[in-house]
């Protein structure tokens, strides 16, 4: 166990040191990768632990971007006040949204979440305070090191929260809901309330990630903020790394971001295709995610992959 903690501390130190030994391209890649890892980790709270697949979490990212942008560009407030404003809006929206839609189960919930981001994008395009179609321009701060370290701190906070969830009564209730929601209700777990709490926690971290991103790129518009491709990416990255685990979404997001970056760099146009192949291979050989590979491979060696295929009847 000590060895694992040491490896983890070394990994965190290495990540924290990137701005001092990396070039500008690596730092910028790092900010994007860390922020998408926050999204994956946030998605993991409801999606991985409670088993509720949301394709609408990008709405919280958009709300976070707009919250910070409106606070800074329209009201001339400092960044940190903007973050508080953004997180408050996103959490309130999650609670309001969750109350009706988290009564739906499984695929019905997933379907309902699909349209939310598009609807919010349309709303932002028509609001004066949100800059309508044009968007908003934030004050410029050229300090990639600061944005990088802020993203890393946010990811650490999200991961520590998930680590707490994984060992708490709250987390046990979420897992019980995932395993059998009727049974969870039969032991007195108020499923709707727990699911709303999980969604609100996801909204909190996702919105702050959106806020940091908005301040970093200094310009936001409706299509870029309420970006539904983010929804697919955070789901894929969590599934790739290991849903319902503490480190899986982080590992999945960082590894997939790196793979995509390398592919886009070397073979540009065909990158999307190869990315698809990587994910296909992962789904077939690693259905429980990348973080399950270490332990499983040590015990079963190459039979690990065969067992996975058999077990999940792919």
């Amino acid at each position: 166990m000590n060895g694992r903690w040491f490896a983890l501390a070394a990994a965190v130190a290495l990540l924290a040191g990137v701005p001092w030994f990396g070039n500008a391209v690596l730092i910028q890649f790092g900010i994007n990768a860390l922020l998408i890892a926050v999204l994956a980790q946030s998605w993991n709270i409801l999606g991985g632990f409670a088993g509720y697949v949301s394709f609408g979490n990008s709405v919280f990212y958009g709300l976070g971007s707009y919250g910070v942008a409106i606070a800074m560009a329209q009201w001339n407030l400092p960044f940190w006040v903007g973050l508080i404003f953004a997180a408050t809006i996103a959490v309130a929206f999650a609670a309001l949204l969750g109350w009706p839609i988290l009564r739906l189960r499984g695929p019905y919930f997933a379907i309902v979440t699909l349209g939310i981001s598009a609807a919010m994008s349309a709303l932002a395009s028509n609001l004066d305070i949100a800059g309508k179609n044009v968007g908003l321009i934030l004050p410029l701060t050229r300090n990639d090191t600061l944005f990088y370290e802020a993203s890393l701190v946010l990811l650490a906070a999200a991961t520590l929260t998930v680590a707490w969830i994984a060992r708490s009564r709250f987390g046990m209730a979420l897992i019980a809901i995932r395993e059998d929601e009727d049974a969870a209700a039969s032991v007195g777990v108020n499923a709707t309330r727990f699911k709303i709490a999980a969604l609100a926690m996801a909204a909190f971290f996702t919105a702050i990630a959106g806020g940091i991103h908005a301040y970093w790129i200094t310009y936001i518009d409706p299509a870029g903020s309420f970006d539904t491709t983010l929804d697919v990416r955070m789901v894929i990255m969590t599934m790739f790394g290991g849903p319902g685990t503490v480190l899986g979404p982080v590992v999945g997001a960082l590894v997939l971001s790196a793979i995509y970056e390398v592919l886009a760099d070397s073979i540009s146009k065909a990158a999307a295709l190869f990315f698809g192949i990587v994910i296909l291979v992962a789904v077939i050989f690693l259905p429980r995610g990348l973080v399950d590979l270490g332990g499983g491979f040590r015990v079963l060696r190459w039979r690990y992959f065969l067992t996975n295929i058999r077990q999940y009847r792919i």
């Binding site: 046990m172 897992i175 059998d180 049974a183 969870a184 039969s186 032991v187 007195g188 108020n190």
Partner: protein, 239 residues
């Protein structure tokens, strides 16, 4: 009958506008095992759902002397009305120990929870052996034990068991029936809903026969067991 734990009178319930149950009267007293028997579609599960307040009902429903008709399922659970659902409904990828602890989810009394766990392992030694295994890897009989154990972990004042014998070998059912008697011996009365009429009546004190949404017979288990109509209907014998 005012000392009954569960006291149902003139209860009507159903889905939408169609009543499935009409004018139900049923009581469970302290220290009793009561069997509710009837064929498929008679309304047994509907009655359990009405009692645990999942579906709408009208009439009189009292638990521990309190009118519980307006309560939510969680509130009723908190008062000690605990159900073992049909089909077990265990948390498949959680361990046996975690499943049992989920039963005590709403409890805060550490010492009481430990005592309940010891009591459960006492009733089902096999659960203690398999406590670190996932519930999904248990046999059907062991899963039913785990489901009953999980319900006991909630410190029930009345245990309602839905179709306990479903899909289990007769020898396993006999073993579980013995456990029900032991649970009653520890002061927890039981309302069991069963298709296997004669298994239920073997351990019950009293029984109710439900047909087409009405109670058609209510008598001691001894009387029901020797009832010719019941024997004909459920055993197919012409004696």
């Amino acid at each position: 009958m005012s000392d009954a734990l569960l006291d149902i009178r003139g209860l009507t319930a159903g889905y939408g506008d169609v009543p499935v149950l009409t004018d139900i009267a049923l009581t469970v007293g302290a220290g009793e095992i009561v069997a509710l028997v009837g064929s498929n579609g008679a309304g047994k599960t509907t009655l359990l759902r009405a009692v645990s307040r999942i579906i709408k009902a009208s009439g009189s429903l009292r638990f521990l002397g309190e009118d519980v008709l307006p309560l939510t399922p969680e509130a009723l659970f908190a008062r000690g009305l605990v159900q073992v659902p049909e089909g077990r409904q265990l948390f498949g990828r959680m361990t046996v120990a975690e499943n049992l602890m989920m039963g005590a989810y709403r409890r805060r009394d550490r010492a009481g929870i430990d005592a309940s766990l010891a009591q459960t392992f006492d009733l089902f030694p096999v659960l203690a052996e398999r406590r670190a295994q996932t519930a999904g890897s248990l046999s059907g009989g062991e899963q039913q034990m785990c489901a009953i154990g999980r319900a006991l972990m909630a410190a029930p004042k009345l245990l309602m068991i839905d179709e306990m014998s479903l899909g289990l070998a007769p020898i396993v059912v006999d073993r579980l029936l013995d456990v029900l008697v032991a649970i009653r011996g520890q002061g927890v009365p039981i309302l069991m809903v069963e298709q296997d009429v004669f298994a239920a009546l073997a351990v019950a004190d009293r029984g109710y026969v439900l047909e087409h949404g009405r109670i058609v017979k209510a008598a001691t288990a001894e009387t029901l067991k020797s009832d010719p109509a019941l024997q004909k209907a459920y055993l197919g014998s012409d004696s």
